[in-house]
Every structure is written in C-alpha cells, then in structure tokens.
Symmetry: C2
C-alpha cells in the first residue's frame, strides 16, 4: 500500500543485507567473461576486427546448429530460426550500429553494443552455503531455462554508453501465458528486472535489485515482439535509478512502464 516507501532507509538496509554474497543477476550478463567472449568472436587471428554477425543470413546458419550438443556455450542473444520479422528487423537495426566503418575502410566500435547472454555465466557459483551440489550443477538462468527456441523468452539487449540508454528486443513465446492469449505479468516483470538490472550494472558496476514499481497499461499478445527502452534517471551514492518503458516495435503503443532502484555492491560482497 505504500509505494512511496520504496526508497526509504529501511529498504536500503534490507538491500544491503541482500547484497551479501550476491550480485545482481545481470552483472553476469555483462561480466568480464561474457564481454571477452564477445570480443574474441570479433577478432581474427591476425588481430583485425571482423563482423561475423553482420549478415543475418550467416547468423541464422550458425544459430540453427544443434546447440545443446555443441561444446561451445550458446549465446542466446544471436538470432535463431524462431525469430519473427519484427525481432529480426530490430536486431539488424541496432546490430548495424555496433560497428562502423571509418574513412580508411577499417571497422571500429559504434555507439551501441550487443550484450551476449548465456544460460549460466557463473558455472561454478557456490551460491551460499545453502545449496546442494545437485541444485548448483543444474541451476540455470530463469530467462534462459527453456531449450526449445521461440517457446519462452527470446531477447537481445543493446547498450549505448554515450546516451546512457539500453534497449531490449523481446519476443514472447507461447509458454509465457498469463491472461488467455497474452503474456503473464510476471514474465513482463522478469524482462523489466533483467533489462533495468543490466543497464544499472552497465552504468554502476555490480548491483542488486532493491525495488521494482511496475504499471501495466496494455496487455502484450502472446507471440508478439516488444521493445524495452531503459534510461538512467539518476545516481545517488550507491543507488542507481532506472526507468523502463515496454512498447510495441514502433514505440506507438505503451504496454508497461516501470522504475527500478538498484544498489551497488562491492566485489567483497561477492565472496
């Protein structure tokens, strides 16, 4: 009943407790390891920057390989055959701005960065003293726990450091149903937590979610593609405030809007 209390001292204290031994889930998605993998993919043995994913067709060819049997971890942020035309179009739009060609014909980073995404970045996380070895070994990131392509969360995130913006293209599969024929409010909240948390981590380093305040305006039809757009509202000490809007692909219809408060944690909290 008191959304106004969300930024109170009590909450800060609670979130400090929460930070012990943990980092915000999204910290992993843009962790050093993930970025290294991403960069490695783009640099040839000769050291020049290549664009292996610049053609969507070549990406499709890569992505439809039977990834569960591959020795390489699957990067879920790359296109696969389940992606519809809206998802592909938006992916191409932002991906084309990840690298630009200089006057000398060389490639260099653009204003956007695509963030790779795995089903578990911290393979050997201990996760506190509570967990059995079985749970640890089988644990998977909530948004990447379904193997069937297109059935659940298909999404890719891009960050723009210059403008302190983050966008996520999200295609909602048939296993995310809430109201008949539409996406579950919890699945929308999950994507909001994921994207705002990623953005906060990108801006402030490792963080924990302290508060999410979500207004549901218009339902999202199952199977459709939406755009999540995040921006930084402000930073105050350990607090990072992020806003998020969920719209249809051309931004003309607002489905959901939310704010997130994230608390920075130090590396000491992770041990």
């Amino acid at each position: 009943m008191t959304p106004h209390e969300s930024y109170s001292t009590g909450e800060t204290r609670g979130a400090q407790q929460m930070a012990r031994g943990l980092c915000q889930v999204m910290g992993r998605e843009i962790s050093k390891g993930s970025f290294n993998t991403n960069i490695r993919q783009k640099i040839t043995p000769s050291g020049t920057l290549q664009l292996p994913w610049s053609s969507i067709n070549s990406v499709r060819t890569m992505a439809v390989l039977p990834w569960p049997f591959s020795s390489q971890p699957r990067d879920f942020s790359l296109p696969n055959s389940s992606w519809g035309s809206d998802m592909r179009h938006l992916y191409e739009h932002y991906n084309s701005q990840c690298e630009v060609e200089t006057e000398e014909g060389e490639k260099k980073w653009g204003v956007w960065r695509r963030l790779p995404s795995y089903n578990r970045s911290l393979k050997y996380a201990t996760g506190g003293v509570y967990l059995s070895k079985i749970i640890q070994s089988k644990a998977r990131l909530f948004t990447r726990n379904i193997r069937e392509q297109g059935a659940a969360f298909e999404y890719v995130m891009f960050v723009n450091k210059q403008e302190q913006k983050c966008v996520c293209v999200f295609q909602a599969g048939h296993l995310l149903e809430g109201p008949p024929g539409h996406v579950h409010g919890g699945a929308i909240a999950t994507m909001i937590d994921t994207v705002t948390g990623t953005h906060a981590t990108y801006l402030s380093g490792p963080v924990m979610t302290a508060n999410l305040n979500i207004n549901y305006r218009s339902p999202i039809p199952l199977g459709s593609t939406v755009l999540l757009t995040c921006s930084l509202d402000k930073k105050e000490g350990r607090k990072t405030f992020v806003s998020c809007q969920v719209t249809n692909t051309d931004g003309s219809k607002l489905h959901t809007e939310a704010t997130g408060l994230f608390l920075s944690i130090t590396m000491g909290h992770l041990l």
Copy 2:
C-alpha cells in the same frame, strides 16, 4: 521514478484498455470450472463428502503417475515427489484446515480452501485476434510451463474467506536462478503477481493487474521453500489493493514485500 503515480487516473484508464478481452490470469485458477473439479474430487458417487487428499501418502501415489500421458489434467497444487519436507509440512498444515469433522462425524468445509492449479484452464481461449492457431494450441501458463517436477515453480495456494487472507507455499526450483545460487527477482515477481492476483480475484471477481510495487529485502536461496502471505488492504470502486509478504517458512525472515493494485473487469470484457 514516480511510483506515486501508480494509482493515478492515467493508470486506471490504461488498465481499462488492458481489460478488453482479458481477465487476470488468476481468474482462471479459481474459475468455476476449477472449483467444480475440486469439489467433484471430494464427493463420492453416493454423494457423501470424502477426504481423498487427507493423507499425504495417498496424494503422493496419485501425483507421481505419469501425468503427461493421463487423460485427466494434472492439478499442480497436489504434492509430488519433488516437494521437500518444508513444502509438505506447510501443505499438510493448511490442507488439514480445509475440512473439519462435525460432532456428528460428518465432514464440512473448514476456513481454508486449497486452490487447484492447471497449466491452462481455458483450453480453447481465443486470446484476441492476434494469435496464430499454433500459438493458441501450445500456449501454457507461465508458472506451469516446465514438466520436470521440482525444477521450477512448485506452489500451492490456500484462501481464507473469513479472514480475507491468502497464503502460498512456494518451493523454488533450480531453473529459477537469478543471482548465483538464488531466485531471480522476476521469478519472485511472478509469484507475487500470481498470488496477489488470485487473492484479488477471490475477493472481487475477475481482475487485471494494474500495478505491482516490489521491495526486495533479502535474497531467496535456490531450492528453498518460502511462504507468501496476502491480505486485503482496501477496496475502492473497481480497485482492489492487496499486500503481500514473502518470508521463510516460520515467518521470521522477510525476503520480499509488495503491494498490488487490481482493477475489476466485467464479464463483458471477457468476450
């Protein structure tokens, strides 16, 4: 950045739009059909009320049958072999108060009701004009979309009409990971939406989620069992305000607390 706007006129208008053609997901969980099924299970051909689920052992026997091949829909709110001792203990505690014995030795309803739960109650929902027949036929409730018992959301809800309370016993499986070894904030939000929405529906009839405001206080270890306790804050016209606390099983530790605002929709909205 403006959680205070959550109950504004704009939101109400948005939620009215949202209501078109839809009911809150939880409306289905306590729909007439589901309750009828529940009641049918309890009445023998001779018409007397039985307690087929009063012994947890007999329930286990039923629940471990290979349900995907059964012609009967699986009621996910019944115990299965993945439930740990905390989950079983709390289930027994509330289930034992669902029916009581009179002085004459007859059974009658107690103060609590267990709510059955299926992976899709509205089998033939049209879900608007957007959906392809394939998506419609494959759609599954988000919280019940994983077949492997114990891997994701294991939960059972009980409502107490007398006290206008609702509790949910929730065991978080290994596929719900967010921060390493802990439950994803989106999975917690999903359960909060599910339980507060169910409670609002129980109190006010079909509703849609308009706002969720969630404060994350202390992380939930993966694999553990928690209790979600909901209470009615107030009703104002079409608005139902519900509070929710997520605690450990004995209530001594607060993990998350939230408020939910739900808007009533009429049956006309469902057509």
